[in-house]
Symmetry: none
Subunit: 68 residues, 2 copies
């Protein structure tokens, strides 16, 4: 049985994603707001990103249907 993909996923902080792309953390936030990158919100409002999605993006694999 396949569990929901939303669970058991390693989450990355904005600064970690920023380091992988060599951009500013604010830029990653901008990507999330634009819907270019899906994001989870902590109860305090901070964003967390799926590692698998980020790594796919780094490898040039486009991801679809991701709205913040």
């Amino acid at each position: 049985m396949a569990a929901s993909p939303s669970e058991s996923e390693t989450l990355l902080t904005p600064s970690e994603v920023a380091a992988l792309f060599r951009v500013d953390p604010k830029t990653v936030t901008r990507w999330a707001k634009s819907g270019k990158l899906s994001s989870i919100r902590t109860l305090g409002g901070h964003r967390r990103y799926h590692e698998v999605e980020v790594r796919d993006l780094l490898n040039g694999i486009p991801v679809q249907g991701t709205v913040d």
Copy 2:
């Protein structure tokens, strides 16, 4: 086991690469478009270059199979 080369690599901005080669950033872009230099893209379309590859090129070590 060889992991994806896109991971765990320090990336350089176009201007940083340009400074290392003492050329205009536009020239670095042309190298990437020609496939002479591999590059990844930010979600906004800006290019980032692998530092190790740039270092090798600076040392006269040719790199193969790099298509923009």
